[in-house]
């Protein structure tokens, strides 16, 4: 687990370590400056009490305090800003990685993971990790600085070492408590995230089926099913809070136990005059000072445990190997007309028991038009998907232009094959961009020429000229289509959308 965690976050932290170091430097410096504030005030009150003050020295102290206050504000603000900015930059970089990764995943992956689920990586998980590193850096820096300065000051004081050692004894329990509670908190927060996801899915399902619900007057049923999911979140949240708030209150409690030891042991030592009263007072003050950072550390650990589940999810997603990749020795297809040759093709979908295609063999000559017919589920779509390497066919079964499609770069294979899906999927951009989709870089002149050509002929003939055509009555579909992601953009009807996709396939000269 530690290795996968190292993946995303650690590499980011490492590559940005100079900036983080600078930010932490600002924070520490602001802490040091801030520590001068009470000291200066103390000196001022002492001087004032002694009566050795003139208006000039009073003014001097006022200005000194002003300078300290403003410097602290600026330094702390700078540190805070830098850390927050880095956190947002982490989000940015991670989203870039996720998107790049999404474009490499196959239809098989998308069919198994709903879009809502994938979006929640980008919306929730990334944010949760960012919040924990930003707050973590700020609070840990403060807490560590305070604890360290307490330790340093204690060791420079006249308090005997063995007394300090006895007093901090309860704090040694912290690692054990973290190890004991950490996994429980993580496990329960994972449950919360899961129940949240399942509520989201349920909402999607019920709103998607609103027509059916309404026509069967089944509103109560839908309400009941959704209500169960909502209640599950509440119950899981409360279970989580039971541990996490106990954990959070436990750390300051340990600090209080340290003070109890200080009172009893230190008090006895003071009473028997083995240490001075001053040392005793100092000891109790330092131990109280440790309380706030202890609280902060509890906070940070709690937060880390929760976001760790998110980080693991992201790392697992990024570690997911795309199943369809170009082979290392793959080459692009040559120019000119291409034929298709299929030999002994048998294909089984991942996880299926029955093959979808059994021992298929045929040839298509360059420029030939071939129609594929058959009833639903007979394998027409599968055949087209294999040709485009949406799924990988067994090696040696499909050849395009005389070459096994596994040896053709994915890029050139897909560039040379144009297809018109059954349900036109339009992106919410201009009609022009939708038509020029296959080559977004092409000039507008080319586009308008294409458009007029398209207008002058029936849609089905737009790309007939000298290209090998495979038309399956159920051509390639979006992964969505079989019951999922079919976005209806704009007001265009089915028919109109399909002709737009026909045109979209034209510019790539298949």
């Amino acid at each position: 687990m530690a290795e996968t965690r190292r993946g995303l976050l650690t590499s980011y932290l490492l590559s940005n370590s100079p900036i983080y170091a600078t930010a932490i430097g600002f924070l520490i410096m602001s802490n040091i400056v801030n520590a001068a504030f009470p000291k200066t005030l103390g000196r001022f009150t002492d001087d004032l009490q002694k009566g050795g003050m003139t208006p000039a020295t009073i003014e001097h102290y006022g200005l000194l305090l002003l300078a300290i206050g403003v410097t602290y504000g600026l330094l702390f603000g700078l540190g805070q800003f830098t850390v927050a900015r880095l956190g947002r930059h982490f989000e940015f970089v991670t989203r870039q990685k996720l998107f790049a990764h999404f474009t490499k995943l196959s239809e098989h992956y998308f069919s198994q993971h709903g879009i809502g689920k994938l979006l929640s990586y980008v919306m929730n998980d990334v944010t949760s990790v960012r919040e924990s590193i930003s707050n973590g850096v700020n609070q840990t820096t403060n807490a560590v600085f305070l604890i360290l300065s307490c330790i340093v000051m204690m060791s420079f004081s006249s308090i005997p070492f063995y007394l300090i050692a006895i007093c901090v004894l309860p704090l040694l329990a912290i690692p054990f408590i973290v190890v004991r509670f950490g996994p429980v908190i993580r496990g329960r927060s994972l449950k919360v995230q899961e129940s949240l996801a399942s509520m989201t899915e349920s909402a999607e399902e019920q709103f998607g089926g609103i027509r059916v619900t309404k026509t069967f007057a089944a509103e109560d049923m839908a309400m009941r099913r959704f209500g169960e999911k909502v209640d599950a979140i509440r119950d899981n949240q409360l279970r989580l809070v039971k541990v996490s708030s106990f954990f959070q209150a436990l750390l300051p409690f340990l600090g209080a136990l340290s003070l109890v030891l200080a009172i009893i042991v230190g008090g006895t030592l003071t009473a028997t005059h083995r240490i001075t009263l001053g040392s005793f007072v100092e000891l109790t003050l330092y131990l109280r000072m440790i309380m706030t950072p202890l609280q902060q550390i509890g906070n940070v650990i709690n937060m880390m445990q929760r976001s760790r589940a998110s980080l693991e999810r992201i790392n697992a997603l990024l570690a997911q190997k795309p199943d369809i990749v170009s082979a290392s020795e793959a080459e692009p297809l040559p120019e000119g007309p291409l034929g298709v040759r299929v030999r002994g093709l048998t294909f089984r979908y991942p996880g299926a028991t029955e093959p979808a295609l059994r021992d298929i063999s045929f040839d298509i000559e360059p420029g030939q038009t071939v129609a594929i017919v058959g009833k639903t589920g007979s394998g027409k779509t599968t055949l087209v998907k294999l040709l485009l390497r949406v799924y990988d066919p067994p090696r040696g079964t499909i050849r395009v232009g005389g070459r096994d499609i596994a040896d053709i770069t994915l890029d050139s294979l897909r560039r040379r094959i144009a297809y018109v899906p059954q349900d036109g999927f339009l992106f919410s951009t201009t009609i022009r961009d939708n038509i020029a989709f296959s080559d977004a870089r092409q000039s507008s002149g080319k586009w308008s020429r294409r458009r007029s050509r398209r207008k002058s002929r029936p849609a089905s003939r737009a790309c007939r000229s000298s290209s090998t055509r495979v038309s399956a009555s159920a051509a390639l579909r979006c992964p969505a289509d079989s019951g999922s992601a079919q976005a209806w953009r704009g007001a265009s009807s089915n028919g109109r959308r399909s002709s737009s996709s026909t045109t979209a396939s034209a510019p790539s000269t298949p």
Binding site: L41, F44, L48, I58, G62, L65, L66, G69, G77, Q80, R88, R95, Q96, F99, F102, T103, G114, G116, L119, Q206, F207, G208, R211, K214, T215, F216, A218, E219, M221, A222, R225, V230, I233, R234, L238, V241, S245, A249, A256, V260, I263, G267, T268, T270, L277, F280, K375, T376, G377, V390, R415, P421, S428, R441, A480, S482, G483, S484, A485, R489
Partner: protein, 618 residues
């Protein structure tokens, strides 16, 4: 159907997707939204008081701890009369107080979460119930994705408002008031001078308010644009891959991602400046107080002890203020969420149940199933007309086929009968009763609708057929499935009737899923049956199976069949031919062919044009 970012199913102009965009609201609306949400906290007033009590005990236990140390020092160690027993007692009391603080902090957190979670759960359920009660026109306007966001994130940020913001406002507000009281008790003049800080704080808050709101909204807008782009790209990923556009889309994503990042940095900048300016103001005022107060002490106008206390109070004064400003962002997102939810809650269903004195509640078994459209006019958007003054009467038990090209108004006719929408003029009657006078739940029990894409829920087959209504027994469900011929198919599945359908029934073929929706009809026995392109997605072999089921199901019911494929409706008692929202012809298949009009044209086109029996339109 899995895509949450898909638009509603109506064939009409849709608004731009609003996945998490920002809305402009008037102050009055904001007030109403706030009041609506705060009402959710009311039932928890008692628990809130308990939380208050808990934190009071916890704080007191915390504050008493240093006092105990003081006792140990002043009364015992200083006097030199400390004995071990007393020290042990003080130590034990201290440990007791720490334990008390631990317990009450723990209870406080748990109670607070209980309130927050109860509010969210109630809010989510209420929102769901409300959305469900809205008309189809609402679902045409709001993409499902944004509704899901309302259910999941907006409710969440409102719960944070109750658990974090409210707590901070109460706790820190109280502290602030206490400190002010103490200051006035100590020295009125100095307190008045310090009180001039309040308007300064107010000015800073006002100056920053609009800036903060602006940067926050800007970041939110960029976020929603990026998410909308991403959602769409995920939905169309196979198309992107097939057209080899990964790099191009990545670049476009990067541009949006970058804009969001930049907006974020601006937002951070405004937030840090806001928080730090209070911090600096606090320190500046201490410095000023030191100077002014120091001079006063110097001129013997002020006691030193008072100045010392004042300096401490001023420093403490800024702690709660800082704590409150830390909550600013949470508060802002909660307000935005409140506005967004209010927009939904304040939307009234367009289609409403009749007033009790108007309502007619016919017994289901007495419904005969006569339908009459009288001068019906309808358009989805104002100014456009999909149906023009249409008259049609259907006898009980008649089977009507409705044909016409895409956009002729066939589906709209059905939607009006189900009251997904209300007619703009005219009336639709069932057995002579205006559908608007029948309670919707009853109306929907009278009518069964089977659509092109059967919608299955995640759950077992049994539950899907009986729509999770356990009043129908297992035996009844099996009987219904046997009736439509689905039984052998289901028995072949691994767990038979208990097979869990995942991903909207993706394990079943289109025909099998459609058979299940026919079984639903048989079980629930509506008097009127509507088939909206119910067989369009099936190949001819599966269609035969479904056709058989259809015959069984439609027997004795008034049945309306919409179809592209003329073969589906050829045997109907009457065929209605629609064009541009009008009925242009009607009669039996033979009569219409003989008439040689539009129907014949469609028929010839379907038969001859493609050599197929399928009529391709659009």
């Amino acid at each position: 159907m899995r895509n949450p970012f898909r638009f509603g199913q109506g064939k009409r102009a849709k608004e731009q997707p609003e996945i998490s965009g920002s809305y402009q609201t008037t102050p009055a609306e904001r007030k109403a939204a706030f009041r609506h949400i705060v009402a959710y906290a009311k039932p928890h007033l008692g628990t809130f008081l308990l939380v208050f009590g808990c934190s009071l005990v916890a704080i007191l236990a915390d504050l008493l701890q240093p006092y105990l140390v003081k006792i140990a020092i002043d009364d015992h160690l200083m006097g030199g009369k400390a004995d071990a027993k007393l020290l042990w007692m003080i130590g034990a009391t201290y440990a007791g107080l720490a334990l008390l603080s631990l317990l009450f902090t723990y209870w406080q957190n748990n109670l607070l979460q209980r309130i927050g979670q109860s509010i969210v759960a109630k809010l989510r359920k209420d929102l769901f119930r409300h959305i469900q009660s809205l008309s189809m026109s609402f679902f045409d306007r709001f993409p499902i994705g944004s509704l899901v966001t309302h259910e999941s994130s907006d409710t969440e940020s409102i719960s944070q408002f109750f658990t974090q913001v409210l707590l901070s406002l109460i706790r820190d507000g109280m502290t602030l008031i206490f400190i002010l009281i103490f200051m006035f008790k100590l020295d009125v003049k100095l307190a008045l001078i310090s009180a001039t800080l309040l308007p300064v704080i107010a000015i800073i808050a006002v100056v920053f308010r609009s800036w903060l709101r602006q940067t926050y909204q800007a970041a939110r807008t960029q976020l929603s644009r990026m998410i909308a782009f991403l959602a769409e790209n995920l939905a169309g990923m196979s198309l992107i891959q097939a057209f080899n556009q990964e790099e191009e889309q990545f670049k476009q994503f990067e541009a949006r991602n970058q804009r969001y990042w930049k907006a974020n940095v601006k937002e951070i900048r405004s937030n840090v400046l806001f928080n730090r300016s209070f911090d600096i103001l606090g320190n500046v005022s201490v410095a000023l107080l030191t100077w002014i107060g120091g001079m006063a002490v110097f001129h013997r106008e002020l006691e030193f002890g008072v100045l010392y206390a004042f300096i401490n109070y001023i420093r403490q004064f800024f702690q709660p203020i800082n704590a409150i400003t830390q909550q600013w962002n949470t508060m802002q997102s909660a307000t935005v969420s409140m506005d967004r939810l209010w927009r939904i809650f304040s939307t009234k269903p367009e289609v409403v149940d009749p007033e009790p004195e108007q309502a007619v509640d016919p017994k289901l078994e007495d419904v005969r199933g006569a339908i009459a459209y009288r001068g019906v006019e309808f358009g989805y958007l104002e100014g456009t007309r999909v149906i023009n003054r249409l008259d049609l009467s259907i006898r009980p038990g008649e089977m009507i086929g409705i044909v016409g090209v895409t956009g002729a108004g066939k589906s709209s006719l059905m939607s009006l009968l189900c009251r997904f929408y209300d007619v703009t003029a005219g009336a639709i009657e069932i057995d002579g009763i205006d559908v608007r006078r029948i309670p919707q739940a009853k109306l929907h029990r009278m009518i069964g609708l089977v659509q092109q894409e059967p919608y299955l829920y995640s759950g077992s087959i049994i539950d899907n057929v009986r729509m999770f209504d356990e009043r129908y027994t297992r035996g009844q469900v099996i009987e219904a499935c046997r009736f439509v011929g689905a039984d052998p198919l289901i028995r072949r599945l691994k767990d038979g009737y208990d097979t869990l359908l995942s991903e909207r029934g993706s394990g079943l073929s289109a025909g099998e899923r459609q058979l299940l929706s026919f079984a639903r009809i048989v079980l629930l026995e509506p008097r009127i049956l509507i088939l909206d392109e119910a067989t369009a997605n099936l190949d001819s072999f599966t269609e035969q199976l479904v056709q058989h089921a259809l015959q069984v199901v439609s027997a004795g019911r008034t049945t309306l069949v919409i179809a592209h494929r003329l073969s589906t409706v050829m045997h109907a008692d009457r065929i209605i031919v629609m064009k541009h929202g009008d009925i242009v012809e009607q009669g039996t298949h033979a009569e219409l062919i003989e008439q040689g009009g539009y129907y014949k044209e469609l028929y010839e086109h379907a038969k001859g044009g493609h050599g197929l029996e399928e009529l391709q339109t659009g």
